[in-house]
């Protein structure tokens, strides 16, 4: 069965799956960035803001492929 298109209902408010996946991706990226800062691993990147954007995209694709199905 083709699962697309579909919407996610949160308290009777319908949301597009990309929005939910994107929001979860931003939260996951924030946690990752915090951990990378804490263990001083972020110093190995030349431009962390770009890495932040890249991580958000990667997480969105992962969450959208395996968990929410965008």
């Amino acid at each position: 069965m083709n699962p697309f298109p579909h919407e996610i209902a949160l308290s009777e408010i319908l949301m597009p799956p990309l929005l939910v996946a994107g929001t979860l991706a931003v939260i996951a990226t924030l946690i990752t960035a915090r951990l990378l800062n804490k263990y001083r691993l972020s110093r190995h990147f030349s431009h962390p803001p770009l890495v932040f954007v890249a991580l958000t995209v990667i997480y969105t694709v992962i969450i959208g492929t395996f968990f929410i199905r965008i």
Partner: protein, 717 residues
């Protein structure tokens, strides 16, 4: 009524009256009048009138700009957006300048607001613009009347008190710092200078306010502006004199000023006279002539560099004499004790200058935020807020551009608290009201409570956002409607908006506090090096326009960057910078100010030297010294503490020794005809200036080496 409750009472009353009139006249968007009241209410009538005038004129200019742009680009969407963003960019540049910041801020966002609300509906553009102007005018008029009639607070008392504080502070600074033989505490001198600088900033704000609400200050405003300028210069000269004396004492060199005690007594009398004129009494006595002579025999017994240091100190005392005399005259005229004309001549218009890099960065940030919002509005279907989001992008973009050192988190939290507060009022309280009596009571109670409980200056941001969000979400109108969409739109719009602001905080330039601090340091040292690189030019060679602009740019950079750094230093996140103490960072700033003053002095002294024979004789050693300094500036720009204090000290001592030997050789060979007395003095001034820059540099490296700069260079999210 207690004093703390008066200002909230006046604001609340003005908001209720403004709403009442706007609703009775059936004007659309009556909250625009309430906005005007909420944003112009300040602690004194003068400050409020000043801000109100800027809001009104800014609105009018914004309206003219918006209507012109709508008329010029009726069917060209991209050109229209481009023109709007360029206009906002110009307003942002002027807003981040020294004068009329609020005027340009209002002018920029009112233009975007009208373009966004009237652009898609050009038929009603003129009506919307007129409505905005009349409601802003209404809010300002109502608040001005309320504040003038109920417990009017004039700026007069505070203004004269701060002017008096400035005079007494400078008097104390001279007394403590210029008495030879005392073991003066450099920390105390620094603290006194800091207090004076704070008083100067306060004086500037109060002068703006007093011009609006105090007739006698308005009449003599140009003298007061002159007083402000001269006070600032005098503080700087006292600071340099104190430091010169401290350096003389540290190197055990006698100051050789034969009548220093009478000079200090005369300065004391002048400051006392200035103080009494500010407090409204005629000065007891007029400034007297002081014969400041140097002990010639003592001077001959000193080494060349010691002589240079003494000549420099003596020069500063002369400057002090001249400046205090001028300040005395200005104070006399400003307070009506003089016989001069009512207004002095206006100063010349400023010359054309290269743009300030920080202000250009603010322009880029605002324009980029605006473009992101425009593109989101055009390409993302039903984006929360729509045109309101574009307007808010301009408003918040301009706010953040004027305070780039503040993190988005600091602004986002009180803003969202304001959104939640406004939403709760909108959903839970407003639907139960009927008639203006109950609405007016709610408006009064809410405004009064917010202004009363958030009256601390530290809570100003929270108060502004809570008031703005309450007024904007409530959207009170004669045909009041309630919809959950209003709340949902606001709750979703601000996170989207702040995501755009977050993007522009990192692209194209990373605005993290420590990165910005390092970038400013780098620019400071590059400009210091730039000033030195032009020094070898022959004094008789006429500067081209390009060279003059370049020099003015470098001078402005080295003078302004220490103040900018002080702003950034307050917001440094020390937790992520192990090995850094706030005290050590603060200690760097006076060192940089000192170095800036010394570098400018060196350039000026070198420029004024007329005896080319002397300069040529010294050219190799001087060039060697200058190259060393330039290299040091270059290295310090990229790594603030790459070389230690000892290394600089060793190099400096070596250069001093060689230069001294060379000077002795030149002077021994010279006869009286070749080197006049004035030339000799100029020569010592130049040596003193070289020495001063080098000593300052050693002082800076000592302060910088207390900080571990490694973590500052590390990249972080």
């Amino acid at each position: 009524m207690p004093e703390k409750a008066r200002e909230p009472f006046k604001t609340a009353l003005a908001i209720v009256i403004s709403y009442g009139i706007a609703l009775a006249m059936d004007w659309g968007n009556p909250y625009w009048a309430a906005f005007a009241v909420a944003f112009v209410s300040l602690s004194t009538a003068g400050q409020s009138f000043n801000k109100a005038a800027m809001r009104m004129f800014g609105t009018l200019v914004g309206i003219v700009a918006a209507l012109s742009l709508i008329a010029l680009f009726p069917q060209q969407r991209w050109l229209f957006i481009l023109a709007v963003s360029v206009y906002v960019g110009v307003c942002t540049y002027l807003m981040t300048g020294p004068k009329k910041q609020y005027f340009w801020n209002v002018s920029g966002f009112v233009c975007v607001l009208l373009c966004m609300s009237a652009g898609p509906d050009p038929v009603n553009a003129f009506d919307t613009a007129v409505l905005r102007a009349q409601e802003t005018g209404l809010g300002i008029l109502v608040y001005s009347l309320v504040t003038s009639l109920l417990w009017p607070v004039s700026s007069r008392k505070d203004f004269f008190a701060v002017a008096g504080q400035l005079a007494s502070g400078q008097r104390q600074f001279c007394q403590t710092g210029l008495k030879p033989g005392q073991d003066s505490d450099p920390g105390q001198a620094q603290a006194l200078k800091g207090q004076l600088l704070q008083a100067q900033t306060k004086f500037q704000k109060l002068l703006d306010a007093a011009e609006s609400d105090t007739q006698e200050v308005w009449e003599m405003r140009r003298y007061w502006r002159l007083y402000q300028e001269q006070t600032s210069k005098l503080t700087s000269v006292i600071g340099s004199s104190v430091q010169s004396l401290a350096e003389l004492e540290a190197s055990k060199t006698p100051h050789l000023a034969t009548r220093l005690d009478s000079f200090l007594a005369e300065l004391d009398n002048r400051f006392a006279g200035i103080g009494s004129m500010i407090s409204g009494q005629a000065p007891g006595r007029q400034p007297e002539e002081i014969d400041m002579a140097l002990d010639a025999a003592g001077l001959r017994a000193l080494s060349q560099f010691q002589r240079a240091a003494v000549v420099v100190f003596h020069d500063r005392l002369k400057q002090l004499d001249q400046l205090t005399r001028t300040l005395f005259e200005t104070t006399r005229n400003a307070n009506g004790f003089g016989e001069a004309e009512a207004v002095p001549a206006r100063t010349a218009l400023p010359t054309l200058q290269w743009p300030d890099p920080d202000r250009m960065l603010a322009v880029i940030r605002v324009m980029l935020t605006l473009w992101l919002a425009f593109l989101a509005w055009i390409y993302v279907d039903s984006i929360p807020g729509g045109t309101s989001m574009v307007t808010m992008a301009c408003v918040y973009g301009m706010i953040m551009a004027s305070i780039p050192m503040v993190t988005l988190r600091t602004v986002f939290k009180p803003l969202m608290a304001g959104v939640v507060f406004g939403s709760l009022m909108y959903m839970l309280v407003l639907p139960h009201l009927s008639g203006f009596l109950s609405l007016g009571t709610l408006l009064f109670v809410t405004t009064f409570s917010l202004c009363y409980f958030l009256s601390d200056p530290k809570q100003a941001l929270a108060k502004t956002f809570a008031l703005a969000m309450f007024v904007s979400i409530a959207s009170i109108d004669n045909q009041q409607v309630y919809s959950f969409m209003v709340v949902a739109t606001n709750v979703l719009m601000f996170p989207v908006l702040f995501s755009m602001l977050a993007v522009t905080a990192y692209f194209p330039v990373n605005l993290r506090q420590e990165k910005s601090f390092l970038r400013l340091l780098n620019r400071y040292f590059r400009s210091s090096g730039g000033l030195l690189s032009d020094m070898h030019r022959d004094a008789r060679h006429a500067e081209t326009r390009f060279e003059r602009m370049r020099k003015v740019f470098h001078v402005r950079e080295v003078s302004s960057i220490p103040t900018k750094l002080a702003g950034w230093a307050k917001f440094l996140d020390i937790k992520v910078l192990p090995g850094t103490d706030v005290k050590h960072v603060q200690a760097l700033l006076p060192r940089l100010q000192d170095l800036a003053g010394r570098t400018k002095e060196l350039v000026e002294v070198r420029r004024s030297m007329s005896n080319q024979r002397l300069l040529n004789a010294l050219s190799d050693e001087a060039m060697d010294w200058r190259r060393n300094l330039q290299q040091a500036f270059e290295r310090l720009g990229s790594a603030p503490a790459e070389i230690g204090q000892e290394d600089y000290r060793t190099r400096l001592d070596e250069l001093t020794r060689r230069l001294e030997a060379r000077i002795r050789e030149i002077l021994d060979r010279s006869t009286g005809e070749q080197i006049s007395r004035e030339d000799g003095k100029d020569f010592y001034r130049l040596l003193g200036a070289y020495r001063g820059v080098s000593e300052s540099l050693v002082g800076y490296t000592a302060a910088a080496s207390a900080i571990d700069w490694g973590p500052w260079h590390e990249e972080r999210f």
